[in-house]
Symmetry: C2
Subunit: 252 residues, 2 copies
């Protein structure tokens, strides 16, 4: 019998721009008398990383360009919000009333390029954008945990993204440190000796989805999840490994 356990400390403090998120994570371990172990994975929600790093924008200070105004009319959205979305995007993939699906400058494809009104807490006009370099944000937390607890852990920054074909957003990794985000079964034998030829599993996204089941999106203050027992290989890790090369993608 093997077990995977994920625990979420409740009552993670409200995060303000400039806060030291690494210290907050370490404090949550101490307050809950839990110590991370080797091969644990810490998953932390993008929203608190963005806030701590000051990746927040006051729409009141944004002047939309004509391109943003035109896209805003198509999408039935605030032109200032659309300007922020364009600033965060390398390409607009699809538009319809109520929805802009963009390729974020980091390479993944999601609604509104990750620009979000919820759980900001700075006032009506404020939105969060995604962290500037989520791999670096993850690595900063990972190295703090290694220093403090002398453990080798993985760290994932997660967000919830919609996806083609299926309803419901799911947790995905947008930043990775300390683990290989893909786990390859290629060359291994199955239960009956058949050699697996194509099985590569997106374990970082599966870990991100597991965390999402505990984080919620409402008024709970539960952005941090520690997962023990997941199947992955330690490594340097990067979001980049999770992104399919555009020219190899058949659904763009």
């Amino acid at each position: 019998m093997r077990t995977l356990t994920a625990w979420v400390p409740v009552g993670f403090p409200d995060v303000q721009p400039g806060d030291d998120i690494g210290s907050m994570v370490l404090d949550m371990f101490r307050f809950n008398d839990v110590a991370p172990e080797d091969h644990d994975v810490l998953v932390i929600a993008q929203k608190v990383i963005s806030k701590a790093e000051g990746s927040v924008i006051n729409l009141g200070e944004i002047t939309p360009t004509p391109a943003a105004k035109e896209l805003a009319a198509q999408a039935h959205k605030d032109p200032r919000l659309v300007q922020v979305i364009l600033n965060e995007s390398s390409a607009v993939m699809r538009v319809r009333p109520g929805l802009i699906i963009a390729e974020h400058r980091l390479g993944f494809i999601c609604a509104n390029a990750g620009v979000d009104h919820s759980n900001v807490g700075l006032g009506e006009n404020w939105v969060t954008i995604l962290p500037k370099d989520p791999d670096a944000s993850a690595e900063a937390i990972r190295s703090r945990m290694e220093e403090t607890f002398r453990v080798h852990v993985g760290v994932i920054i997660n967000d919830t993204h919609g996806r083609p074909f299926r309803e419901g957003a799911v947790g995905v990794a947008i930043g990775v440190a300390g683990l290989e985000p893909l786990f390859s079964y290629v060359g291994q034998q199955d239960l009956f000796g058949y050699v697996l030829r194509t099985s590569i599993e997106g374990v970082a996204d599966e870990l991100a989805a597991t965390a999402s089941l505990l984080q919620g999106q409402g008024a709970e203050g539960t952005p941090m999840v520690l997962i023990r027992g997941g199947r992955f290989k330690p490594g340097i890790g990067s979001l980049v490994e999770l992104l399919r090369e555009p020219k190899k993608d058949m659904f763009r």
Copy 2:
């Protein structure tokens, strides 16, 4: 502090066509001295359901049509395998050498319409196809668990699917019983009173992904996972709720 726990009994027996998978699940609980509780979710891999239900095909008995031969030439695949893929599909979405992405007759989109060589164990020429009605397969196990243990649980049949834009396959639900596969935050307030307008989470897929972290795809005999502590609402549930209406999908 809240916790999610997933455990997988190791040594699930080899499944043969005609086996009673419900009994095998109940036995695994008994052998491991674990009792399911209300609000647990049992996730079980498609592969063992297909085998028990006889959803296995001997390619030696398949005669490909000209259409299958043509597609096989495009995809560099065995024409008999391609015939089975076509029989399982309502539409072929994309083709390139080595890959056929199809809309399965059940409505989801995946590689090879779920037809698979691995972990079959009946001989070189055999493949599994997906269960005829995975919601019904899930419901049969759910009702057996309710009868035996007097508990209200959710049951998910899972498989690993690739997806657009991102590398790595992830666990997804292809059959659901006893839980609502989508969890809506719409109308709830966030941490700061902002009313969430668009947040619907695909919790059945997140549970399927969590299970996938423990199941693996190699020679392990670990198709069954019990998850405790996941966020979902009990309900009748169906795969259908997870499928986006084709006309609303912007990436077909």
